[in-house]
Amino acid sequence: MNVRFLILVVVFMVGGAAMITQATRSGAAPMMMPSDLVQSKNDFPRVRVAGRVSESKVTYEITPKAILYFSIEDPKHPERGSVPVVYEGVRPDMFASGRDVILDGAFVAGTIQATNLLTQCPSKYEAPDPEKLYKEKHKTEGSSAKLATSV
């Protein structure tokens, strides 16, 4: 009995390993930062990129198909440049300049042709600083309202 079970377990492991290896090989995509792509001369048939939507122009065509054009940059190194992205699909909720996104697609001739685009939930961001926010707000509004000081 034990031999038969051992064989069963081995079959599972081998079969499973084969399936996983095959599926991995055919689907794996390198994960890259936009700055890696800016400097790259190669094309990548499959790539996943995580980055921040840059402040430059975002265009959204809706006819005849929904196509979103934007640029993506390293959140930590925006000075290294940004990569243009073309995404054929509905603009995801919460998509905006300055938001972090993850996209899957192909990198061809300097542009990412995205097939999958996900916006990260804004609540994950660096905790906003109430002091800074209110100082900015009162600078623009010129309000002289007194604010209660904390205990």
């Binding site: 069963l8 499973g16 919460m94 939930c121």
Partner: protein
């Protein structure tokens, strides 16, 4: 409020520490020799567990109170709420961010531990050991909250802000309000069987008593987790507008992994209770389930994998890894130390037997778990091994997991047909014959009506087989009990074998879920179109005509509504109107869409307003038809119902199977 919260957390932390020590001491030899000491130690540990709950409960209540009273002296309250929010969402904002959600986890963990302390009627070393482990879990999580992710921090300003930052509108949705607490309830409840298991190993009471005591807990945990996961899928479907419900996102997978192993565990313990076998398996499975719940929360908070769900990447990750390592070492150590007591009291005699079916079940579930974990961790592993970070996407998971799940569906058909100890292929064949013929007929019918995908056909046929074989078994049982009036036999059978048929009901629920998933994915229809008012588009059995485009201006955003008339293409009759909505927020120039959905038993018509142009003269849509989508949710309800029936069956009821304790 901040000071109170700190004190309450610190008190809970100390109580947990006391609980661990008293519990551990109670399992020692010294305690067992003086019975008075044992009772007092266990009672002390029990009281400490309750104090932990009081501490965490007060802290949680204080934070909720802070939300409800708009207390912006607290950074967390300020960050995740504002004055205008509905009260419900002020409460749910508790788990809107990392710190509060960790506190919620602590709360639920303390709650289940306290209930265990209050309801377990055993002043024994097993109980003491269990309390030690339960409190050690609480101790870990309270440490994380108290020292690393403390929600009771003062607001980062020199003044009290007049209003809060507000909760992300995507989270202000009723489904999002129940989904995290349900999931956390599932995760934390799985700590109970784990605590009893390690308690049993500690106190060397390795008969089946710990299984009997934890059976209901395990089912409750599984119920919460199953409902939580399905609710998450439901929320994604209704809110996110991509027409789907599961994306194999790392955080989704993080909740799925403990579910998979938990389901295997839930089944595997039946073998131990009946036959005294698979004891080592079960220790490993329950430890793995609990470990995966910790791993899941680690994934979500550490930032090691990219996910849209993940909280901000912080430094808490390594603490979880240390705890996971600790759990692993303790479990492995005990598996070795107690190996003789964990030896099976019987052996598996035949390949074709219920026992071997359960072993196969464990193997399949573990394979799916491994494959999914592989996909999740692949970026990390590939970077370690090759230097470049690689990821795998949805095609990977589907390629590996779909065949495995189909295998599981097949096992759900033949498993119950196999007898304990020794069955025969002939016996299974006899039970399988009629259902199989009907399944082949169904398959032929499906092929004739255009279904060509092998996987879809297999899924449908297996689902059919699951349902039919249960019905057949019910019928045979009814005929045996009441040969002259079979109809009277049905309630008799169900009453006598209530648990077995409740289990069958859960399996039927799974079959229905499988049909819903298969149909809505394999036969999905999709169309993108721009329409002017009066123009129509056809999709599936529907014709949609754009009636009007309206816009409404509000303070923070403007809303576009498109009214679509839904007509049944064949008859030309109008069914209803759908109004998908697009909201444009002025502040960040961002948009959200509100899906307009028509659900029916046959299919879902799912419409998304993609954009409005020419100042309202034309609108673009993305439209899906998802066949049989509702059956996924219906199947989930059936699964929950079946589980509830088992949970609510009273312990002393004669219908319960007599376990060999």
């Amino acid at each position: 409020m901040n000071n109170f919260g700190h004190i309450a957390l610190a008190g809970a932390w100390l109580a947990a520490l006391v609980g661990v020590f008293l519990g551990l001491y109670s399992t020692s030899k010294a305690a067992s020799e003086k019975s008075g000491l044992l009772t007092r130690l266990v009672e002390g540990a029990s009281r400490a567990t309750i104090v932990v709950f009081i501490g965490i409960g007060s802290a949680t209540a204080a934070l909720i109170y802070g939300f409800l009273t708009n207390d912006y002296t607290n950074q967390y309250v300020w960050q995740f709420s504002n004055r205008d929010m509905a009260a419900l969402y002020k409460v749910t904002a508790l788990w809107g961010g990392m710190d509060g959600s960790m506190l919620l986890w602590c709360f639920m963990l303390a709650l289940v531990s306290a209930v265990v302390a209050l309801t377990t009627t055993a002043g024994t070393r097993l109980f003491g050991g269990t309390l030690a482990v339960a409190n050690s879990s609480s101790l870990f999580f309270i440490t994380v909250v108290l020292f690393l992710t403390n929600p009771f921090r003062a607001v980062r300003a020199s003044f009290i802000p007049p209003d809060g930052n507000g909760l992300n509108p995507l989270l202000q949705n009723p489904l999002m309000a129940i989904h995290p607490p349900m999931l956390y309830a599932g995760f934390t409840t799985f700590s109970v069987p784990f605590a009893f298991c390690i308690g049993a190993l500690l106190s060397n009471q390795l008969d089946n008593i710990w299984l009997t005591l934890t059976r209901r807990w395990t089912l409750i945990a599984w119920l919460f987790l199953t409902v939580g996961i399905i609710l998450g899928g439901g929320w994604a479907y209704v809110e996110l507008g991509w027409g789907g419900f599961w994306a194999w996102d790392p955080v989704e997978n993080a909740s799925f992994l403990p579910w998979l192993v938990g389901t295997a565990y839930l089944h595997s313990v039946m073998v131990q209770q009946r036959k005294g076998m698979l004891k080592t398996w079960n220790v490993a499975l329950v430890a793995l389930t609990y470990g995966l719940t910790v791993f899941g929360t680690f994934l979500t908070r550490s930032g090691i994998v990219q996910s849209v769900h993940a909280f901000a990447s912080t430094d808490v990750g390594w603490v979880f890894l240390v705890y996971l390592g600790f759990i692993f070492c303790i479990t492995a150590a005990f598996l070795f130390i107690r190996r003789r007591e964990l030896q099976a009291t019987a052996r598996i005699e035949s390949f074709v037997s219920r026992e071997s079916g359960f072993v196969l079940n464990n193997l399949i579930f573990l394979s799916i778990t491994f494959a999914t974990a592989w996909g999740v961790m692949f970026p990390v592993f590939s970077e370690w091994l090759t230097g470049t970070k690689q990821t795998v996407g949805v095609p990977f998971y589907n390629a590996v997991n779909v065949p495995l799940f189909l295998l599981l569906l097949g096992l759900m058909v033949v498993g119950p047909m196999m007898g304990w100890r020794k069955s025969s292929i002939q016996s299974v064949g006899r039970q399988l014959l009629a259902p199989l013929i009907s399944a082949l007929a169904i398959g032929a019918l499906l092929i004739w009506s255009g279904v060509t995908s092998f996987y879809a056909l297999t899924a449908y046929c297996f689902a059919w087989l699951i349902v039919v074989s249960v019905m057949l078994e019910l019928h045979r049982g009814a005929r045996a009990l009441s040969p002259s009036a079979v109809a009277a036999g049905y309630p008799l059978v169900l009453k006598r074998h209530r648990e077995r048929y409740a289990g069958h009901l859960v399996h039927i629920g799974v079959a229905v879920v499988a049909v819903g998933i298969t149909a809505s994915m394999a036969h999905k229809m999709e169309r993108e179109v721009t329409l002017k008012p009066g123009e129509t588009v056809e999709i599936g059995r529907y014709r949609l005509s754009l009636n009007t485009i309206d816009v409404e201006q509000l303070k923070n955003f403007e809303r576009y509504f498109a009214k679509l008339d839904v007509i049944e293409a064949k008859t030309g009759l109008k069914i209803e109107s759908l109004k998908p909505e697009l909201r444009h927020y002025f502040k960040n120039n961002e948009t959200t869409t509100e899906v307009a959905l028509r659900t029916s038993l046959r299919d879902d018509l799912y419409t998304v307003l993609v954009g409005v142009e020419d100042g309202g003269k034309a609108a673009s849509f993305k439209i899906y038809v998802n066949p049989l989508q509702i059956w996924l949710w219906i199947g989930g309800v059936i699964m929950a119902l079946g589980t509830l029936i088992i949970v609510l069956t009273p312990k002393n009821s004669p219908v319960r199977v007599r376990h060999t304790v």
